[in-house]
Each structure stands twice: as C-alpha cells, then as structure tokens.
C-alpha cells in the first residue's frame, strides 16, 4: 500500500504540491488527470524518491520514502517508473537494457538476467527486437522497452508518467494495450495521463489535480462521466471538446 499524507513540494518559491493526501491499495489502478503544471508528474517523482519533499510523508509498504535512514536503492526496486521520454539506454541493445538492472542491482547471473530479459521483452511484444539498439526502434517500441525494463525488477507498483504524450498518435495504442495487459495481471498502478478515455476504461479510481491540490477523487466512471466539482467539469469539457 502507498500512503501519501499531506505532501508539500516546492521548486524555489513555486509551490507545486500543496498538501496531497492519497492512498493506493494493492491491485488498484489509480489515474491522475489534470492540466499541465498541476503537479501530478511531480507527485510520481516524489513517490520514487527522485524529488525531495518539503512536508508530509510518503509511505510505501510501511517504509517512509523520504526518511533519512531509508535505503532508496532497495525501495526503488519495488517501484517501477516509466517516463514520458522513453529514456532507453542508447548504448545498449533492447535485451541489455532490460537485463542491466537485474544483473548489477540484484546481482543475478548473466544467464539468468538475459533469460529474464527475454521473457519480459516477449511480454511487451518486443521478442523479435532483442538485439536492436534503441535508435532502431520506434517511439512506441522504445516505450514498451522501458516498461519491460521496469517490470524485470519485479516491482510491486508501477508508476506511469504520461507515457503516451510524446508518441505519434498511431503508436499510442500499442503502449496502452501493454498497460491494459498489466492491469489484467493484477499490477498496482498509478497512471498520470492526459488520456481521459483510458482513465475511464482502465482506471479504478481517478484523481483530478488542479494547481497543486486534488480537486476531486472518486471512482473513475463517476469522476469522468458525472464530476461533482465545477473545475473538474470545465477541465473535462476542454479535453473532450
């Protein structure tokens, strides 16, 4: 379980998170929607310990992420994250991209790590691209590679940070399919997305972010089909026309 208690985060004088409270249950898919700059991506980076926070707590399975004595390297193995820019390692093949962390972080043997990597490339449908460098893959393929890379660490949670925003429209589908497949398998996921339709179909709950606070939180269909808050309604009208 991930518990987020009254989290505050600022960049200099700009406060981007103004007291966020959320909790994510095992097996749940939570979608975060909202305009750009509303703080939802920053929240993901804080959950992973990539960003410090100025107030509150983030607790992952009983471990406080930002406590001094927390070993982030160990904790992060539980928290897979996939970014908007695919961030595949350009000097490694697809297979090596996936096998690297199991080898150096989990100290698996080269053979085991490569087997594991092959398995995960198959899972995201990239089995035939194992020996390609990222520069030879499309955006959608690179993004699926990034998902396979995160999954190979066997995380308990997966965080997705606008993973389809940088993609050409025709490549969005293949990545969303992978996300749906993950949901079917029972993975706990926090998905930051601009894709309201995806949030409605695949999210269990949806949180609407506005100016650093959660403006509305509820079951996905309710929040998107029948928002209670005026600001949510206005936002949805803008993105759905």
């Amino acid at each position: 379980m991930i518990e987020i208690e009254n989290v505050r985060k600022s960049f200099g004088t700009l406060e981007v998170l103004k007291g966020i409270n959320l909790s994510i249950e095992k097996g749940e898919v939570l979608c975060l929607i909202g305009g750009s700059g509303s703080g939802k991506s920053t929240l993901l980076q804080c959950i992973n310990g990539l960003q410090s926070i100025q107030g509150g707590n983030i607790i992952v399975d009983g471990t406080n992420v930002h406590a001094r004595d927390t070993n982030l390297n160990t904790l992060r193995q539980k928290l897979g994250i996939v970014f908007q820019q695919y961030n595949a390692f350009p000097h490694l093949t697809a297979l090596e991209n996936v096998a690297l962390a199991p080898r150096v972080v989990k100290k698996q043997s080269r053979r085991d790590a490569l087997d594991l990597a092959r398995e995960h490339l198959d899972y995201v449908g990239l089995g035939s691209k194992a020996d390609m460098k990222p520069s030879g893959l499309s955006g959608g393929q690179q993004q699926r590679l990034a998902i396979a890379r995160a999954l190979a660490m066997k995380p308990a949670y997966m965080l997705f940070d606008e993973v389809t925003s940088a993609l050409d429209p025709e490549l969005v589908g293949e990545v969303l399919d992978t996300l749906r497949k993950l949901k079917e398998s029972g993975m706990t996921m926090i998905v930051v997305t601009h894709d309201v339709a995806f949030a409605r179909e695949s999210g269990d709950r949806v949180a609407f972010f506005d100016q650093g606070v959660i403006c509305e939180l509820g079951p996905a269909r309710q929040v998107i089909n029948d928002p209670k808050e005026e600001r949510t309604r206005q936002f949805l009208q803008r993105v759905l026309h």
Binding site: N73, Q77, I81, Q85, N87, F89, A101, V104, V105, M153
Partner: protein
C-alpha cells in the same frame, strides 16, 4: 655556385643520436598521456559532480591554461632545484605535461558527463541502481563516446608539446635535430626529416579521430 652532396654534413653515426631523440619524445608522450589521463578523469568527474571541487580546482585549471608551457617547465625545474632536489629533465617534462594534459582531459570528461541527459540518470536510479552503478554502467559508457575523439586530439597536442621540454635540457627529437643543425648546417634537410616524423605520428591519428567523431555523431 657551389654544389654539395645532400648528405655531406650528416653521417650514419648521427643516427643513434636522432633515434635517442625519437625515443625520448615517445616515452615522454606516453608517460604524460598516461598520468595526465588518470588525473583528468578524476578531476573532470570531481569538477562535474562535486560543486566544491569546482572552486578548489579553479586556480589549478586557470593557471595551467594561462601561462606558457615553457615558463611552466622553467618554474618547475627551478623550484625543485631551489628545494635542493634537482629533477631530471624527463621528470620536469612528465610533471608539467601530466598536469597540463590533466586539465585538458578533465574538460573533455566534464563535457562528456554533462552531455548525459539527467532523465537517463533518473531512469537508472529508479531501477534501484546506486550512484556508482549508474556512473559505471550508464553515464561513463555514454560519456566515453563524446570523450574519445577529443582525447585523441589532446594526445596529438601533447605529442607536439613535448618539443618544448628542450628548454630545460631534455634531448627530445627537436632538440636532437637542433644539435645536428648546429654541427652540419643542414637545417632544411634535418628539419624536414623531423617535421615528417611528427607529421607521420600526428596526421594519421587526427584523421582517425575525425572519422570516429563522424561515426559517433551518426549513432
């Protein structure tokens, strides 16, 4: 007009002396390139990732690049002499050129590490890699691609700069040629041979580094 045979002043017995010069140029280059690269990798990394180091190392970097090498050789030579431990000219050369090579190398290391996108570091750290694992498996290999062509250029510059150690009495190739010129008065011939030697070392390496640069750019 008086005709002379081309080899009139030069004798075959001069060859060992010239070869000594060649040898001395090569070992000085090799030693300074090795130590200089080690120094440069460490301080380049420090200057890139440790803010305090940038301030502490600034005077060293600054002075090395703003004072002629000739004067650096003379100063190191005379300060060891004043301290009562006179140094062999070879070691004066190794010390000055290693420190100099260190600064040039550190600039390349910094540029290489600085060119790695921070999102790639985030991606690595988010997989549970430590700072050192990230550096070892992601940042360093990526930095190496931009570093290497520039480093080769620096080694060429170093090879040429070894010629200056003659001011503190080191008999490298150019010094050896000058001695021959004084004796034989065959300046043009001796110099042409010497120039050809430097050119034969530096030119192929610089062609190679330019080609590498192009390959990496396309990758």
């Amino acid at each position: 007009m008086q005709f002379q045979l081309p080899y009139s002043g030069l004798q075959w017995s001069d060859l060992p002396y010239v070869l000594l010069g060649v040898w001395n140029t090569l070992i000085l280059t090799l030693a300074a390139a090795t130590f200089g690269t080690l120094i440069g990798v460490v301080i380049g990394w420090l200057r890139q990732d440790v803010p305090v180091a940038r301030v502490v190392l600034a005077p060293y970097v600054d002075v090395t690049r703003s004072v002629p090498l000739i004067i650096q050789f003379i100063l190191v030579n005379s300060s060891f002499a004043l301290a009562g431990i006179p140094l062999e000219p070879l070691w004066v050369g190794v010390i000055v050129l290693s420190l100099y090579m260190g600064v040039l190398t550190s600039e390349l290391v910094r540029a290489g590490l600085g060119a790695v996108r921070f999102q790639l570091k985030w991606a690595s750290r988010s997989l549970g890699m430590s700072y050192w694992q990230e550096l070892r498996y992601v940042s360093a290999p990526l930095a190496l691609r931009t570093f290497f062509p520039g480093w080769i250029g620096t080694v060429i510059a170093l090879t040429k700069d070894t010629a200056l150690v003659s001011v503190v009495g080191y008999v490298e190739l150019l010094r050896a040629s000058q001695v021959l010129i004084n004796r034989t008065n065959e300046a043009l011939l001796v110099l042409a041979g010497t120039g050809l030697f430097y050119f034969a070392i530096c030119y192929p390496i610089s062609l190679y580094s330019r080609r590498l640069e192009r390959t990496f750019q396309h990758d």
